[in-house]
Amino acid sequence: MAVWEVFRQEREGAPFQHGGSLDAPDRAFAEAYAKEFYGRRAESVALWVVPRASVLEVDEPYVAPVFDRDYRRVDGYSIKVKLKEAREAVAARSGAVGAGLAPPAEDPAA
């Protein structure tokens, strides 16, 4: 008996997604059980059935960071702080409540 991984496609053009796994002694059984579990309610338009032993499992999938390279990550930038500063700048310039929603009176970059 071997473990088989089943991937299913919900509709044509959609990506295949992992549906689950099943135990089967050979390809014919794996096919029949995959049909039974993932196909009999018309919930899949296509199935991929792969012996788990054929799946290349990547150990430690990250490239170990030795130096601090936070700047490579989007979460290194706090957009929240930037937005707050921008809003404050606009408010200070116009002085009016709600003016931040209107286009700036003059473009400081111009």
Binding site: L22, A24, P25, A28, F29, A32, K35, E36
Partner: protein, 220 residues
């Protein structure tokens, strides 16, 4: 209810009773099949057979002015028209259960093919619908047959087929018997005919009809 139905209705009752009783017997494996995946698949097939039985009963019920439930559960044990083959209690004997599925599916395919040519449009249409579902049954039965035929315990499976063969022949009549012999590669023998019942039948009938008999006319 009459035991002497017109021939075309009697044929429907034979089909319906075969499917209901085999579905019932196969469902006895639910929870105890050899492994989980097979448990789900085997139970699902049992359920589908009972669904086919309902469709045949409904067609017959319209002819007899009754309901599918009454036909399925309110007849006397001797009124059932199923073949003794489907009544056999084979639970705990996987080789025989697989042998029965394979023999049954092979015979049923011949029967369904003939029904598709019926001059009764409703029956021909129903047969075509059922045939689409039977494709999975045939795939399942075929893979198990292959596996057990090649297994180290193939002697046990061969013995199961030998024991069940006279019963299986009783499923079909006339020319379909010859076709069944060809399909399974076996010689014709004296069949265990429809119209008789096996010793295990009364207790199965008792179990099947128990709830209906507890509350006659009850609906759920």
């Amino acid at each position: 209810m009459t035991t002497q139905a017109p021939p075309r209705v009697d044929l429907l009752l034979q089909l319906a009773d075969d499917e209901l009783v085999l579905g019932w017997r196969d469902s006895e494996w639910t929870g105890i099949a050899p492994f989980l995946e097979e448990d789900v698949a085997f139970s699902s097939i049992a359920q589908t057979e009972i669904g086919h039985a309902r469709a045949f009963y409904e067609l017959a019920a319209a002819e007899l002015d009754t309901t599918a439930d009454e036909l399925a559960f309110d007849r006397r044990p001797e009124e059932y028209r199923c073949a003794p083959f489907v009544e056999l209690n084979l639970v705990h004997d996987w080789a025989r259960s697989v042998a029965r599925r394979w023999l049954y599916e092979t015979a049923d395919a011949l029967r369904i093919a003939a029904l598709k040519a019926s001059d009764w449009p409703e029956l021909a249409g129903l047969a075509a619908k059922i045939e689409r579902e039977e494709a999975y049954h045939a795939l399942h039965a075929g893979m198990w047959h292959e596996r057990l035929t090649r297994s180290p315990e193939k002697g046990r499976y061969a013995d199961a087929l030998d024991k069940l063969w006279p019963y299986a022949l009783g499923l079909v009549e006339g020319d379909q018997r010859r076709l069944l012999c060809e399909a399974v590669g076996r010689a014709e023998v004296a069949a265990v005919e429809r119209g008789t019942h096996v010793d295990e039948w009364p207790s199965l009938w008792d179990e099947m009809t128990m709830v209906r008999r507890t509350v006659p006319g009850g609906t759920w």
